[in-house]
């Protein structure tokens, strides 16, 4: 009797630990390095869920609204697949946002290990927290979209009330399964990569992988939006699907949204798809994912307990050092420039937050590329010719990159450590910003335009590709100068007040400005490509502009000011006396 009571007590104690841990892990998922929800967490989460619900409701309305008056003779599977794709993309994106919090890390193991906790309690609580997180966003996605499925589709199959309720249950089951698949796909990928690469290598490449997946996911989401705006017909047609059955069948082997669409249709009892049998992939996929998740999480936790850090070998350091010395002696002759250049490089290399923020900006640029291509050139069938769209792509990419760099520079890293810059401050402010410009140019713009040159050499000829890349680089340098024109902040060292750009008010102007910039510069380049001699005048113009900006900075900015470490807040009310900003005036 006593042993039963003890066992019950132990079980209830473990259940309590499980609940506490699940709550802890769940809340930690909202405090990631990209989106900090710590402040007003509930309001923000509700806001995001509401946005997701409204948007997914809108997507469902766009695709399924017609079934209010059009008979569904089986064609609705395509719309279902499109909506499922959208849900899976969003869930995948949510998983990438949580990248570093997916599995238990060293902080977890060092904090939880000393406590009387079983490993199974920790692991199951972590799994439950991820499941809860995925369910929450799954709910957001399904909230307003599901009524369109449930109310518009079943009557075309059967008038029975029983079928109506069965359809609703199947709908929720399949949609949540698809959401879990989309979310746990990246979770499992994370675990597999961590186990295959080993924790040391994985730690080093993790941020690069995460950036890559952010870019990929945003790219896919924007392609999706493009389909939403321009329709599906010029990308995929139902007639083509029927005629090219072998090609599409092969494609669907690797397209999970189709698996779940087939599962949906199969569960309803009378699958009406051109291809059938893929539902097994969905079930098998879910099972494999669950198994791999448990396996990799267990392995990862074991490793995080044993993990130790190892330093670089002396030989590697010597090679790295001699390369760096050669680089510095050629390109960074001033010691302040050197300090800023390497501080900038190392911060962007090490800080996950900054890297991810930059990747998000760049991803938006990358994701715009298929938009641009499919907007005009595909229809005209001149994808590879020299046209305004292809010419504008490097400008879009470099602009997104520069905007991202400008944005991340404002966000401090270890703000409390900036005393070292204050203490070592020197009057030659120009050297600080020359170092910064060199870092942006040599570490970001040059590699981008070398890559662009390689790609366009394949598309066009080397000479045109060279003109094109050089033009893009010159324009980007000018944009960089304009973006840094009033900057007195050493990157990553100044306090940060978010919302100063007031995007919510000015987004339309920013967008119009961006469109104007892309249009004007790409058309100018097209004109210059027709008569390449004009490039000389253009480069001379850029040079004059850059020298002008630099002269302005030296005379009106750097000589009259000191480096800035505190971000100045926007005044609450703008007074008429422009000489004294209101927040500085004393009453």
């Amino acid at each position: 009797m006593i042993s039963i009571r003890n066992a019950l007590h132990a079980a209830s104690f473990e259940a309590r630990q499980f609940r506490i841990l699940t709550r802890h892990f769940f809340l930690r998922l909202f405090r990631n390095d990209l989106v900090d929800f710590e402040d007003q967490m509930k309001e923000r989460v509700i806001g995001i869920l509401a946005t997701l619900a409204v948007f997914s409701g809108l997507v469902a309305y766009v695709f399924l609204g017609k079934y209010d008056f059009t008979r569904d003779t089986g064609q609705s599977w395509l719309e279902k697949m499109i909506i499922i794709t959208f849900f899976m993309l969003i869930m995948g994106f949510m998983a990438i946002l949580e990248w570093d919090f997916i599995f238990l890390d060293r902080r977890d193991s060092s904090n939880l290990n000393p406590l009387p906790l079983r490993t199974r309690t920790i692991l199951s609580a972590k799994f439950a927290s991820l499941l809860l997180f995925a369910s929450l966003f799954g709910l957001g996605l399904n909230l307003l979209s599901s009524p369109f499925f449930i109310l518009l589709l079943p009557r075309w199959r059967s008038p029975s009330v029983l079928f109506f309720f069965g359809h609703a249950i199947i709908h929720f089951l399949i949609m949540f399964s698809a959401c879990f698949f989309g979310f746990f796909f990246y979770v499992v990928l994370f675990g597999l990569l961590q186990c295959l690469l080993g924790s040391t290598i994985f730690t080093k490449v993790s941020t690069y992988l995460r950036s890559l997946f952010v870019i990929l996911q945003l790219f896919l989401i924007l392609i999706y939006l493009r389909i939403l705006v321009y329709g599906l017909e010029n990308l995929i047609s139902t007639k083509q699907l029927a005629s090219d059955s072998s090609i599409m069948g092969h494609f669907f082997n690797y397209f999970p949204p189709f698996w779940f669409t087939d599962l949906y249709e199969t569960a309803l009892g009378s699958p009406r798809l051109p291809f059938h049998g893929y539902y097994k992939y969905a079930l098998f996929g879910l099972a494999v994912m669950g198994f791999v998740f448990i396996l990799t999480m267990g392995l990862s936790y074991g490793r995080s307990l044993r993990r130790s850090l190892a330093g670089h070998s002396l030989r590697l350091r010597k090679i790295r050092w001699s390369l760096e010395t050669a680089f510095n002696s050629i390109l960074l002759r001033n010691s302040t420039q050197r300090a800023i250049f390497h501080f900038y490089r190392k911060t962007l290399r090490s800080s996950v937050f900054h890297r991810m923020r930059l990747a998000t900006y760049f991803a938006c640029g990358v994701a715009l590329v298929p938009f641009l291509i499919t907007m005009r050139t595909v229809e005209k069938g001149n994808l590879l010719s020299i046209n305004a769209t292809l010419v504008s792509i490097p400008l879009v990419l470099s602009f997104a990159l520069l905007l991202g760099l400008r944005s991340v520079m404002n966000v401090p890293v270890s703000l409390e450590a900036n005393w070292v810059f204050r203490l070592t401050e020197r009057p030659q402010i120009l050297a600080y910003f020359t170092g910064l410009r060199k870092a942006i140019l040599l570490l970001r713009l040059c590699p981008l335009f070398i890559l662009i040159f390689a790609v366009y050499t394949v598309l066009w000829d080397p000479q045109t590709a060279f003109y094109h890349s050089l033009y893009g680089l010159a324009v980007s340098i000018l944009v960089m100068e304009i973006l840094l024109i009033r900057s007195l902040k050493i990157p990553f060292t100044c306090s940060y007040l978010p919302g100063k750009e007031r995007i919510q008010f000015f987004w339309l102007f920013y967008l119009l400005g961006f469109i104007a910039y892309i249009n004007v510069m790409s058309r100018l380049e097209l004109a210059l490509l027709r008569s390449p001699l004009g490039f000389i005048y253009f480069y001379a113009g850029v040079l004059v502009a850059v020298i002008g900006i630099r002269a302005y900075q030296i005379h009106f900015l750097y000589r009259r000011n000191r480096l800035q470490y505190e971000d100045e807040p926007e005044p609450l009310m703008v007074g008429l006396d422009y000489r004294t900003p209101p927040h500085k005036s004393t009453l």
């Binding site: 850090l309 330093g311 670089h312 350091r317 050092w321 010395t325 510095n328 002696s329 010691s335 302040t336 050197r338 300090a339 390497h342 501080f343 190392k346 911060t347 090490s350 800080s351 890293v413 270890s414 409390e416 450590a417 005393w419 070292v420 810059f421 204050r422 203490l423 070592t424 401050e425 020197r426 009057p427």
Partner: protein, 256 residues
């Protein structure tokens, strides 16, 4: 000579340091003592040029430091109270950055940093991000960064915090050597034994006001007390430590 003349620092009208005046001479190690919140770190930060006094003046070689802050800062080596460093960087990268910002050449830095890292026992960890360092290791990096450019004024705020016994002994001997070279050194600490051994002069600050400023011997003689600990207790400590300790012990036991 570094002189503080009637220096006051207020944070939102609340004074942290009030009318502090003293002179630091070359070759002298001055201990700066006081309880938590007495204003030690604020004074040191003002001397480093990181904070501006609300009132009063700080003079170096007879000139107000604010007249040429850049030149003054280039003569200062500062070890902060908190181990605030860029932890995403390695010790090697951090020291190179500080050295470069101070205008040292890479060649000189390479020799200096390698040597300092070896002497401080950090050579095997110098390529690791400082996020993985212990408090003592970060403190060693801060000491190295403060002394890298051979400063004439050395301001140390709790420099031995987290350091192991061997390194602490090294630092104490180093301070004596640097003082012999004619450097101006101020050493702020809670550890009275170290101050007693290392410093030729002691300034005690309490609630932002200087409570005493003399050599340990003179203070001992004047107050008729045998050790610095007792002088400090008499001047600064207002509560009975024994009663507080007993209260804490009872609070721990409550409910168990």
């Amino acid at each position: 000579m570094l002189e503080l003349r009637g220096v006051t620092k207020k944070y939102s009208a609340i004074p942290a340091v009030r009318d502090v005046s003293f002179v630091l001479k070359p070759g002298e190690i001055t201990g700066y003592l006081g309880p938590n919140g007495a204003g030690k770190s604020t004074t040191i930060k003002m001397m480093a040029g990181l904070l501006e006094p609300t009132e009063g003046e700080i003079l170096y070689q007879g000139h107000p430091i604010r007249q040429n802050m850049f030149a003054y800062k280039s003569t200062v080596g500062y070890v902060p109270e908190q181990s605030d460093v860029y932890k995403h960087m390695s010790a090697w990268d951090y020291l190179f950055m500080v050295g470069r910002l101070r205008g040292l050449s890479d060649l000189l830095l390479q020799t200096k940093v390698t040597e300092l890292m070896q002497l401080l026992g950090l050579s095997s960890e110098m390529d690791m991000a400082m996020a993985s360092y212990s408090k003592g290791m970060v403190q060693k990096v801060l000491l190295a960064s403060a002394l890298l450019h051979d400063p004439r004024v050395i301001l140390m705020d709790e420099p031995l915090s987290g350091l192991d016994v061997t390194t602490a002994l090294v630092v104490k001997d180093l301070l004596a050597l640097l003082a012999q070279e004619g450097k101006i050194i101020i050493y702020s600490s809670h550890v009275l034994e170290v101050v007693e051994k290392v410093c030729s002069r002691v300034i005690i600050i309490d609630k932002g006001i200087i409570a005493a400023d003399d050599s340990v011997e003179n203070l001992s003689h004047l107050m008729n007390l045998p050790s610095l600990e007792e002088i400090f207790s008499r001047l600064v400590v207002s509560e009975n430590p024994e009663i507080t300790a007993r209260g804490i012990a009872e609070a721990i036991k409550r409910g168990s």
